[in-house]
């Protein structure tokens, strides 16, 4: 009997893991199937560009089927509950589906409703819909006070709000409304960004571009009538346009299955990526409770140790220790505006040392944006 391998979610982690598994498993030894609610794979880093009219929705989404190998099955359905004792996932349409090995790649989900006033009072760029709405707002914007901030932890792609504010400054300057605009960046920390070396690089750029930095501002609520943002630390900020990152939560299926913590994140071993307390279940990407970046890049690297462990189990051998251990690798590009960018690479034991911003890294990011579809979900690069 071939082993049944089920992957919940067809984002970066899910599609990459499924393709790598199908390639590495001996023919006939297993059946690999992906369950995805939409059957669509979305390149979320593109939302940043979409907000400034530099990308469109069609460029950012593809049929998931076209990204999976032919020998990977796709079930377009919604997972409702995972029963780890019976090793069954209950799907909305198809009903119960059994597994021998389960990979949970259900991602993170925006939770606008958990911050009072956020939906009515603020814009965002963390979904296709929000980014398109913000694009229209920015096109019509004629000046005033713009606030960019973070309304909840954890959130995807930690550099994105800093990238956004730097691209916004450039955009408003080019549109001729920069001199009528005050830009305030509300950082949850006492510096621009979590990584000190990146902060030291960004802070002088903020100063040079006249972006006001307000530190230790963790946004708690928005008052849409007064147009004010209120912080956990007790401060109030007036705005004409607020662009805020909404809080994120784990998928409903995690909570419904009693597997997650209060935020719906899966308790996950930081090296093996096994879900703690259950057998033959792995978590990849945003759905884990690991204190590392929620980003496609994290999922990209996490796929390999999971694949090694599952392939070894199917082949009846011990996994190769080095290949089966995730060491916290993350790599991401960081846009700085005016066609410059840097790159951040680190793991659990090696802090990042980003190179000086340059056009080379900006072009590398654009190259990656295009090459993504051919390499990342397919597990080739």
């Amino acid at each position: 009997m071939p082993a049944e391998i089920l992957v919940l979610g067809g984002g970066v982690g899910g599609s990459r893991t499924a393709n790598l598994l199908a390639r590495q498993l001996p023919a006939g030894s297993a059946r690999v199937r992906v369950v995805d609610a939409t059957g669509l794979h979305v390149y979320q880093p593109g939302f940043l560009y979409l907000a400034f009219g530099q990308a469109n929705g069609g460029w950012l989404a593809r049929d998931l089927r076209s990204l999976l190998r032919r020998d990977v099955g796709l079930i377009v359905d919604r997972a409702r509950r995972i029963d780890t004792d019976a090793k069954v996932v209950h799907l909305e349409q198809e009903g119960p589906v059994g597994y021998d090995h389960l990979v949970i790649a259900t991602g993170s989900h925006l939770d606008h409703a958990s911050v009072p006033g956020l939906t009515q009072g603020a814009h965002g760029f963390y979904s296709l819909k929000d980014a398109e709405r913000l694009r229209e707002e920015l096109r019509a914007f004629q000046g005033g006070t713009v606030i960019v901030g973070i309304a909840g932890m954890p959130y995807k792609c930690p550099p994105a709000p800093v990238e956004f504010v730097l691209l916004l400054e450039e955009y408003l300057r080019k549109r001729g409304v920069r001199d009528r605009t005050t830009i305030k960046f509300l950082s949850p920390l006492n510096r621009v960004f979590t990584i000190e070396s990146a902060s030291q690089m960004v802070a002088p750029i903020f100063e040079q571009k006249g972006i006001e930095l307000h530190t230790f501002v963790n946004i708690e609520s928005v008052d849409p009538d007064k147009r004010q943002v209120l912080s956990l630390e007790g401060e109030t900020f007036d705005y004409d346009l607020a662009v805020l990152v909404p809080p994120h939560r784990g998928a409903d299926v995690i909570t419904a299955s009693g597997l997650g913590d209060r935020g719906g994140w899966l308790p996950t071993d930081r090296h093996s990526l096994r879900v703690e307390g259950v057998d033959d279940v792995y978590a990849i990407g945003d759905c884990t409770d690991l204190p590392i970046s929620k980003s496609g890049s994290t999922a990209h690297y996490e796929a390999h140790p999971i694949v090694e462990q599952i392939v070894a189990a199917v082949e009846g051998r011990a996994p190769e220790p080095k290949k089966a251990r995730y060491e916290g690798q993350v790599m991401c590009f960081f846009e700085m505006g005016d066609r410059k960018a840097t790159i951040i690479r680190f793991d659990y034991d090696h802090p990042p040392g980003p190179p000086k911003p340059s056009v080379v890294w900006h072009l590398a990011k654009w190259g990656f944006n295009r090459a993504y579809w051919y390499f990342v979900p397919r597990g080739i690069f």
């Binding site: 990584i195 230790f216 590392i292 990042p352």
Partner: protein, 78 residues
């Protein structure tokens, strides 16, 4: 004996989003009176964590140096 905490977070190797962000997340989820312990290898935490705790009006219960990392215990005060 280190001070026991309601919740302990191992943020060693967390450069992005970073130990302070993990602490803020835990404080939001905690109940008033809970204590959160956070483990960090980041030297910046030594200034960041007490500074934020003071600004947000919580209580810094203890900072202890362990083997290659520090352990910060914070009580949610409001």
């Amino acid at each position: 004996m280190p001070t026991a905490a309601t919740k302990e977070i191992d943020a060693r190797g967390s450069f992005c989003p970073g130990p302070l962000m993990e602490l803020i997340r835990a404080i939001r989820d905690a109940d008033v009176g809970d204590t959160i312990a956070i483990l960090s290898k980041d030297p910046g935490s030594r200034t960041d964590i007490p500074a934020w705790v003071a600004k947000a009006k919580h209580e810094m219960v203890e900072i202890s140096d362990e083997d290659g990392y520090s352990r910060y215990v914070v009580k949610k005060a409001r």
